[in-house]
């Protein structure tokens, strides 16, 4: 029994241990240099990541409130990889920061919240996890302490997410009102698609959509992404989005399975809006961070298309895409973060002629953008192709054609950035930057991911075998 409490919750225990260790370090008087501290923490995170692959135990705890299975373990490992990468690319920025320990404590707390959230088997624990993964994030969005925009981002985030949580809770209470239970497995048989349940579902969907930045619930995204430090933006747009999609998959595919024709059309509706508006906004952005924010909104629209398949294949293609999306997006954010931390430059115009001075970083950024756009042979192509192929299973060609058409539009703006980097002349290009070892490691990992995840077929097949519901 004790054994179970330890191994089923292993990923969570690991994080708790690290968080407490950092807390003790904070409380104790340590005057370690930032570099030492960062290297130490990154080693801890690496250990945490590696341990995640071994001696995992599947099972349920606390009478089904918490459960763990092979797919969830995989998802947690994906999140661990993501957090490790974020931590690596945050190095140039954190090196000069006074509050390294606080940053990591808050960051890992949100990760812990996500773990509980995706493992939850009950709406209560789900809600708890969701809040735990949101509120500390608002605090670290404010971590560029001397920048007004950073605090503005934090404010906007906390207010918007309070608003969305309230509505989500309302939805939860309606579910409870109509079914009399909060346990996932007990809710499912009691769903009959009555108007009240539909309303409850719409409210839940709005809550999820808020987190995933689905239009029209996305408006906080651009401001927060722009204001927050690059590492936090990367974390928000990749890790938190992935986590919420993981649980969204469970909720849609398992809990709300009886209402699948209803949610299918809602997703259709929202996805079209999201892709369209995300693309239109991304096109006019001049700030690279904002540009990535909007383009990642459009990406979610594509994810919804794959999600709509409602099948094993749909689930697999979404998780697969998220893995690839993580590598590509973090690589892009990594380069932008490095440049921003060293020179403060973030606009697309500043990146003109970047190739002349920084060929390595230029190639990383270009490959990342190509992968995000879905150009073969980068992994992004496979990810998107599979999403569209899964979405086509339902035979809704309007949706598929619309998505594919917008893929072309997105080519246009991704290519615009690549063109600025490689082809446009610039009298004062960004000077040659030295890439510290840790971000370099992150770039190499991301690059490997962007190239190999597509080519090595067993990755997809592995996800596909685990995807069951």
């Amino acid at each position: 029994m004790l054994n179970e409490y330890f191994f089923v919750l292993k990923a969570e225990w690991m994080l708790i241990a690290i968080i407490f260790l950092l807390l003790f370090l904070k409380v104790g008087t340590s005057d370690w240099k930032n570099e030492t501290l960062l290297y130490g923490i990154n080693i801890l995170l690496l250990v945490n990541l590696l341990v995640g692959f071994f001696s995992n135990l599947e099972g349920g705890l606390f009478s089904g409130m918490f459960h763990n299975d092979a797919l969830l373990i995989l998802e947690k490992n994906i999140l661990n990889i993501g957090v490790y990468l974020v931590s690596l690319i945050a190095y140039p920025w954190l090196k000069k920061h006074e509050h390294v320990l606080e940053f990591y404590i808050l960051l890992l707390t949100t990760l812990l919240g996500m773990f509980f959230m995706i493992s939850s088997g009950n709406l209560l624990l789900f809600y708890l996890g969701l809040e735990m993964s949101t509120i500390p994030l608002a605090a670290i969005a404010n971590f560029d302490l001397d920048k007004r925009k950073s605090s503005e981002a934090a404010m906007k985030m906390i207010i918007s997410s309070a608003f969305s949580s309230a509505l989500l809770l309302f939805g939860v209470s309606l579910i409870y009102g109509t079914t009399g239970t909060l346990v996932f497995t007990e809710i499912t048989p009691l769903l009959n698609g009555s108007p009240l349940q539909l309303l409850a579902f719409i409210l839940l969907l709005a809550g999820f959509s808020f987190k995933m930045s689905v239009v029209p619930f996305h408006l906080w995204t651009a401001d927060v992404y722009e204001g927050a430090p690059v590492a936090v933006t990367a974390y928000l747009s990749v890790i938190s989005k992935s986590a919420i999609l993981f649980i969204f998959l469970q909720v849609l595919y398992v809990v709300f399975k009886p209402m699948s024709s209803e949610w299918y059309f809602m997703l259709f509706f929202l996805s079209i809006l999201t892709i369209l508006l995300g693309n239109l906004f991304a096109m006019r952005q001049t700030n690279l961070k904002r540009f990535l924010a909007f383009s990642s909104i459009a990406q979610v629209g594509f994810i919804l298309l794959g999600l709509s398949a409602g099948s094993k294949t749909g689930m697999a293609s979404v998780i697969y895409f998220l893995l690839i999306y993580m590598f590509s997006n973090l690589a892009a954010f990594g380069v932008i973060g490095l440049v921003s931390a060293s020179t403060g430059k973030e606009s697309i115009d500043d990146f003109k002629g970047f190739y002349k001075t920084n060929p390595f970083l230029s190639w990383i950024l270009a490959i990342a953008l190509f992968s995000l756009a879905g150009v073969p042979p980068t992994a992004g192509f496979f990810g998107k192709f599979f999403l569209i192929m899964a979405g086509a299973e339902r035979g809704n060609y309007v949706w598929v054609i619309f998505a594919a058409l917008n893929m072309i539009i997105s080519f246009y703006y991704y290519l615009k950035v690549v063109k600025a980097i490689f082809m446009d002349p610039n009298d004062q290009p960004i000077e040659k930057l030295t890439v510290p070892a840790l971000p370099k490691l992150a770039f190499v990992i991301c690059l490997t991911g962007m190239v190999l995840t597509g080519i090595l077929s067993w990755i997809y097949e592995y996800i596909h075998t685990l995807s069951n519901f």
Binding site: F163, L219, F281, R284, I388, V400
Partner: protein, 643 residues
């Protein structure tokens, strides 16, 4: 060497070359990059020839029929329980033919580039890109399934983007590269959806199975025919969409707008991409799926036919008006590919009825040689005079004898003058058109005459027209490595017509007897000769108009009047009617309407994106309002209206 390895090495060598040159080229191999690239391709070419020999003479036939041989198949990914994706190498007659064409032309271009690109700062990068392109193209023709072909299809797009934009200091080159990429992406969208449609109904992506399931009676065929959208069956939709993808790469009207602009790339690149390889990918794709087109969806094949015929004529008319020599060649390519397309369109499947198919493949084969020769020749000329404009040329025949002769041979070949290669392939196509659709035959005949005219207009303007101006310095004809490809390609332009394609590359693998009656050939050849004569009369010596004015001044008015009277008629007919009334409007239409439509699409998107900027106001209360509006909207739609 086992056959699989041998075939696999054909694309893998250029890939290895790309990796080596891409990673180490700039620093360590900046001078030897060209040699490495050329050598690796030389081996690829030898292997291709060896493969062709083995296939056509030794192992390809079973019971007298050429087979589709899957020499390598690997179950790459199981996407869903009923759909897996394979990676494989497949050879059949068209693949083998394409292997030879692609590797040979690419080798010639590599050789030519050794001299042409000498002294470029990014010499190694250029060869790396060339290798990447060659790899993608070879991979494309070897693909054993439609997913794989799509993958290589996109790779071809990416590498041609890199090549066209190679002179990235020139803004026009960058714009052209971007345009080519985006326009062909639009077409690829069709291709992608076509693939999904076909895969959705047939549950396979392999060409062999796909063709089998869709060209013979099967439950899959019943399913896909039963499903309709806007009154057209899913099969027709799928094939039309696949054709749209092909039309984009092959520059068929109205998706051709990227091709003239793409001439901004280095000229040898045009010889490779825009003569023999990428632009025929669309023809290859239709040919690949030909049994399905011909047996199950004749309606879709009709679309192929009319698109091809119209493009052939339209482009030929525009080619008459262009003054940039590369643009003339670009439109000429579009016109010739139109020929190949409609030849497929008029063809049927099997036996002698498959004449059009054979003619199309034959023309693809011969065209590759003479068109890349024309581009390389144009490259040599541009190298010499440093300009693309006809007005800067003239009288070059003495200065560049080899270029002159080889260019002349290519012109004769494309004009369809016997016994040059273009004559043979064109006759097959014309005969096939004659037998199945007289309208298309008429268009083809007219186009053939126009082709002879504009090609010789080009020829005379470059090599005759006016006495050569010797500039202070000139390069001569270029290095030996620039001359060898011209000579080799000229030889091919003469002899390729004698290749027994009819025995080898047919719609069903059975050899067909191709005999074009001599009497049939009289009309097209006469037309071609008429075109050439007209061009000779008009362009061999410099335009008479300025001379005439000078003579008017001098007072010898009357004699001049009579002397030039007949020319006035010529000038009136050609300049006023052909150029101003047909050519100019066609060029204008092309530039403003077809191109403009694409721009309009871009502008609409930009305007829309401008219109919605108000939503992102930066105020949290507004955000909450939209949030609430979203919920209200969902409630309205899904609870009140739907339920």
């Amino acid at each position: 060497m086992s056959q699989t390895l041998q075939i696999a090495l054909i694309p893998l060598l250029p890939l290895a070359c790309f990796l080596v040159l891409g990673l180490y080229g700039r620093k360590h191999l900046s001078s030897s990059a060209g040699i490495i690239g050329t050598l690796s391709l030389f081996i690829s070419t030898l292997l291709s020839l060896q493969t062709a020999y083995q296939y056509f003479f030794v192992s390809g036939k079973v019971n007298g029929v050429y087979q589709k041989l899957v020499v390598f198949q690997y179950n790459w990914l199981e996407f869903a329980p009923d759909l897996s994706i394979n990676i494989g190498l497949m050879i059949d007659p068209i693949t083998v033919m394409m292997l030879v064409v692609v590797s040979f032309v690419s080798l010639m271009v590599h050789l030519f580039s050794l001299g042409y690109m000498k002294g470029e700062e990014r010499f190694a990068t250029y060869f790396a890109f060339l290798s990447l392109f060659t790899f993608s193209m070879l991979g494309l023709v070897l693909s054993s399934n439609i997913f794989q072909i799509y993958l290589f299809w996109e790779l071809v797009g990416v590498s041609s983007f890199l090549l066209i934009g190679f002179y990235f200091e020139k803004p026009s080159a960058v714009a052209a590269a971007k345009k080519a990429f985006i326009v062909t992406r639009f077409a690829d969208l069709g291709f992608l959806i076509g693939i999904l449609t076909l895969a959705f109904y047939t549950k396979t992506l392999d060409f062999g199975l796909l063709i089998e399931r869709l060209s013979t009676a099967s439950p899959y065929l019943t399913d896909i025919n039963a499903a309709t959208f806007l009154g057209v069956s899913a099969l027709s939709w799928g094939l039309i969409l696949v054709f749209v993808g092909g039309a984009g790469k092959s520059a068929m009207f109205p998706l051709h707008i990227w091709l003239p602009d793409a001439m901004e790339g280095p000229t040898p690149v045009s010889a490779l991409i825009h003569a023999a390889t990428m632009v025929v990918a669309g023809v290859f794709l239709v040919a690949r799926l030909f049994p399905v087109f011909a047996l199950s969806a004749p309606g879709a094949l009709q679309i192929v036919m009319y698109t091809g015929a119209f493009s052939a004529f339209f482009a030929a008319v525009i080619a008459c008006t262009q003054t940039d020599i590369k643009r003339v060649l670009a439109y000429s390519t579009m016109s010739q590919i139109g020929y190949m397309m409609f030849a497929l369109g008029v063809s049927k499947y099997g036996g002698e009825d498959g004449l059009g198919y054979m003619g199309s493949m034959f023309h693809l084969f011969t065209h590759a040689f003479f068109k890349s020769l024309l581009f390389l020749g144009a490259g040599a000329v541009i190298h010499m005079v440093h300009s693309n404009e006809m007005k800067d040329m003239g009288g070059l025949r003495k200065l560049m004898p080899i270029t002159h002769i080889s260019f002349l041979i290519a012109c004769l070949a494309i004009a369809g003058v016997p016994p040059f290669s273009g004559f043979f392939s064109k006759e097959e196509i014309l005969l096939a058109a004659f037998e199945s659709n007289r309208l298309v035959y008429g268009i083809a005949l007219l186009t053939s005459g126009l082709t002879a005219f504009y090609m010789f207009r080009l020829y005379y303007n470059i090599f005759w027209s006016k006495p050569a101006e010797l500039h202070g310095h000139h390069h001569g004809e270029g290095t030996l490595t620039m001359k060898i490809p011209l000579i080799l390609l000229a030889v091919m332009a003469v002899v390729a017509g004698f290749a027994p394609i009819a025995k080898w590359v047919t719609s069903d693998g059975l050899p067909i007897e191709s005999h074009v009656p001599i009497t049939f050939s009289i009309l097209p050849v006469t037309l071609a000769l008429a075109g050439i004569l007209l061009a000779t009369r008009l362009f061999k010596t410099q335009n008479e108009l300025p001379v005439r004015i000078a003579q008017q001044m001098g007072g010898i008015y009357k004699a001049a009047y009579h002397k030039f009277y007949i020319d006035e008629v010529y000038l009136f007919v050609t300049k006023k009617i052909l150029f101003n009334l047909i050519g100019k409007p066609a060029a204008w239409f092309d530039k403003n309407i077809v191109d403009g439509l694409m721009n309009l699409l871009g502008r609409i998107t930009a305007t829309l994106s401008d219109l919605i900027k108000g939503i992102q106001s930066g105020k949290v209360q507004d955000y909450a309002l939209y949030f609430f509006g979203g919920i209200a909207g969902l409630v309205l739609v899904f609870i009140y209206l739907w339920k």
